[in-house]
């Protein structure tokens, strides 16, 4: 049974083969990034492993195990699970409307008894799976036909609408962008993007009117942070001060004044990059950025080396999701985009994000391990 699960179709690769196919350099890469995060969490607690660094390390360890398991499972298993898992995630997202509880001012969490789950996190992964699965089955010609676009539009639109309602603007935007990128990678004709882009610009005033007051405030504050230095603009301003004062080489590990004297908000979660850049300077910030680029390039390479469309789109989806996290978080703390609650992947403290992220990397690695597998457009069930 286990063998069947690992090797859908009962052939091709043994566990040993997969072990050798696993990209250990990539593992090293994410371990390096996570280590930087754990070190910063150690610094946030003024040189203590409690309460953040130790728990983050344990979570990372657990998440690594999940990564291995997911990576070694045959890619076709994931392909077959794509629609059901999307269905579950969508159900949970709707469930949040009724049984979710509010955390941080927004309705985002669902308590399953043994774990508190953020269905929107799960949705990001399952959406990628589902879209990859859907476009795997289409020819390039079919992709750009309107009738084949109804399903993906619903796949993206439903979770987008639900997360926006929670309200969780950040995640909603992420879901939309990931979806659009997958449409792009699937080969959707350029004209759709041009028309869509123009429509989006036209929709801005409508979107503005539907935003919550605090969301509008964030956007306005972002546009002119100095207008309210002690109010909503305080976080951005203090973050920029922290970053800027770090200079090229930083103030030294555990020597960040802005962070240690609490001028910096949420420094163990959303603003951890600021703290890193304050203490380790431009050098530290660019190092982390460099590591991230290597991860992203690896993801792209996986897409280009994979011989099945599902794996390609999965790899790109996971990569682009990871990229968006990094971009939004870093751009936010540097005052380039409005403050939205997006963590810095692998570095910010937080369980759900870590788990979904590693789940995603597991899928990416599964696609890598099974990159030479060719799968028909309509393979049907395989176990």
């Amino acid at each position: 049974m286990v063998d069947a699960f690992l090797n859908a179709g009962g052939r091709d690769m043994s566990l040993k083969d997969k072990f050798f196919e696993f990209n250990w350099g990539f593992l090293l890469l994410i371990c390096a990034i996570a280590s930087m995060g754990i070190a910063m969490l150690y610094s946030v607690a003024d040189g203590n492993f409690d309460p953040w660094a130790s728990r983050q390390a344990i979570r990372f360890g657990v998440a690594l195990c999940i990564l291995f398991v997911v990576a070694f499972v045959d890619i076709r298993v994931w392909m077959n699970l794509a629609y059901p898992s999307y269905g579950v995630a969508l159900a949970l997202l709707i469930g949040v409307e009724f049984i979710g509880f509010r955390g941080m001012g927004a309705q985002r969490w669902i308590d399953l008894g043994f774990i508190q789950l953020q269905p929107s996190e799960l949705m990001k992964i399952t959406l990628i799976l589902a879209l990859a699965r859907y476009f795997h089955g289409l020819t390039l010609d079919q992709v750009s036909r309107i009738r084949f676009l109804v399903v993906p539009a619903l796949m993206i639109g439903l979770p987008f609408y639900l997360t926006l309602r929670q309200p969780d603007l950040g995640t909603a935007v992420l879901i939309a962008v990931v979806g659009v990128v997958l449409l792009f990678m699937a080969g959707l004709a350029w004209r759709y993007f041009i028309v869509g882009g123009l429509a989006a610009v036209g929709a801005i005033p409508i979107a503005w009117s539907t935003l919550h007051e605090y969301q509008r405030q964030r956007v306005l504050t972002f546009l002119d942070p100095e207008s309210d230095p002690l109010g909503a603009g305080y976080h951005i301003l203090q973050s920029k001060i922290a970053l800027g004062s770090g200079g090229v080489f930083g103030k030294g590990f555990m020597e960040g004044t802005q962070s240690h004297l609490n001028f910096l908000p949420e420094k163990h979660t959303d603003f951890i990059f600021t703290m890193l850049a304050e203490e380790l300077g431009l050098v530290g910030g660019l190092t982390l950025l460099g590591l991230y680029i290597m991860v992203l390039m690896f993801g792209l390479t996986v897409g280009l080396q994979t011989r099945n469309q599902f794996g390609r789109l999965l790899a790109i989806g996971i990569t682009i999701n990871f990229f968006l996290y990094i971009f939004i978080n870093i751009a936010m703390v540097m005052g380039l985009v409005p403050v939205v609650g997006v963590p810095l992947p692998l570095v910010s403290y937080g369980g759900t994000a870590m788990l979904t992220l590693m789940l995603g990397f597991g899928l990416l690695m599964s696609a890598y391990i099974h990159r030479n597998l060719e799968i028909t457009r309509n393979p049907g069930a395989f176990w």
Binding site: M185, Q238, S245, Q309, E374
Partner: protein
Amino acid sequence: MLTDGTDNVRFKTFSRRAAILGGAQLLVFGGLASRMYYLQVLKSSEYQMLAEENRVNMRLLAPLRGEIDDRFGTVLASNRQNFRVLLIPEQTPDIEETLTKLNRIVPLSQTQRKRILRDARRSAAFLPITVSENLSWEQFAQVNIHEPDLPGIEPDVGETRHYPHAGALAHVVGYVAPVSESDLDDQDPLLKLPGFRIGKSGLERRLDKELRGSAGASHVEVNAYGRVIRELSKDPGTPGAKVELTLDMDLQKFATERLADEAAAAVVMDIHTGDVLASVSTPAYDPNDFNIGLSHATWNGLRDNPYKPLVNKTIAGQYPPGSTFKMVVAAAAVDSGLVDPRQKIRCTGKTTLGNHDFHCWKREGHGYLDMLGSLQHSCDTYFYEIAKKVGIDRIGEMAHRFGLGETYGYEVPGEKPGLVPTRGWKRATTGAPWQQGETLIAGIGQGYLLTTPLQLAVMTSRLANGGKAVTPRLVRTVGDENVTKTPSVDPIGVSDKALALVREGMNLVSNHPRGTAFRARLNDPGMSLAGKTGTAQVRRISRAERESGVLSNEEIEWRRRDHALFVAFAPVEEPRYAVSVVVEHGSSGSRAAAPVARDIMRLVLERDPSNQLARGPEAPGVDTPGLDAATPQREG
């Protein structure tokens, strides 16, 4: 092959678009990196400054106020440790309970408790609140011992102004008190420090800037909530300048005690230099009370006291000089050439001018007296007569030569000019012309004439020093700077003949057996003084009263009794010191003022550097030599 041909087409598109996506990602990361470069390199110094502003708070530190010393280095005003108790609200689970416990050691009134609780609610929980100040050492020690039982309570030692001689210097040194609204014209940030004190009166006020020093600063690291994490650097500031006065504290103290029960003033001056050796105004108040904070009751008591303890009588008490003015009249008469001092005038007890009788203090009259004799006996009739001859203009001019009606730029603020009336002055103030009778009254130092004890001391100094225009001085050094005024040697323009004559007259007053102050003469070995009594009327004696017999001072209420005055210089030969004593409503210059002046002068001469009996200028002692030897030996 599991795949159909279409996958190759898909893959081509995918690869092309993956390249675009990868490029876009790199571009975005390039954007992030350049933003980092902009913030961390280009704008770094600006943000570093902002981070420092965030992190570092400057706290002003009050400098130590300059000490004030007398001429021998005795401390007149200094700083004393202020034992106080602070409360840090966050360190106690129950503020009220802590205060109740503390109350057993340091009594707290209901109002104080309310204030503390209010302060605790208003400020951040980690900021200390002052609970009580100026504790006794015993209380402070008790609080320290019980500190473990008093959560949140923190004993602390601050600095506060202290006047060791309390009231003896209240009017000269003055006092410091909390800053009030009106003081805030001064831009010194120190004034905004809570608990800061500034000079409000006396030299503390005049020399406030010098005594204050300049603010120090402590740079502390604070977190986002304002809590101090640590001190980064500390500049203690520049302490205020030390001020040295010409005063002799032992003399000051003696004179204060001697006049303690009176509303009185006394000034002792060096006639050549102008050094004020003592400047006493009684009763006084304790300047320490003003520093700590005066209760309403104490303030009202001071304000309503008929003896006027708040007034510095040496410079702001204006009294008719009475007979002490006769030296001025005599000098004016001699220098005018209109009066021959040897020519005798008969005193019948009164002089008549028009319908008015002008009485001599001696009802039965003095008979024939020349100028010296009339000074010796203080005959009023003689001075009515010569004043009539000389005229108010010459008398007034002479008064100014002796420094009356003048201010001297004295260091203690609040100097009053007194009044030397002139025709013009009278017309301007009352609209009426000058009456000759008023000249007669001025001849015996009454009427409109007003002088301050300081002016009387200056007058006496000038007549004793040979007519040099000496002015009083009180401050010798401020910090390292010698600010001693050079004594004036300008002649006041009075002939030696006139000066010699009035000096001899004063000598007779004190040393002739029939002089008015003979009973208060100074005849200790090697000592002598020459003086002049004055008894200044403060009420008008009616004709009816005069006929029925003038009431003696003992028979009338205190505030209507005559002022007692006495001025003197010493020694008689080669004088060096002058003294003036005014006892408000003291009834008689010879009985109330002269003995005090004599006692003061005795001590002055004892402490004179040239006196062999003194222990020397650097270690002066009030104790009589040989006191130890006189102490009875205890039987073994």
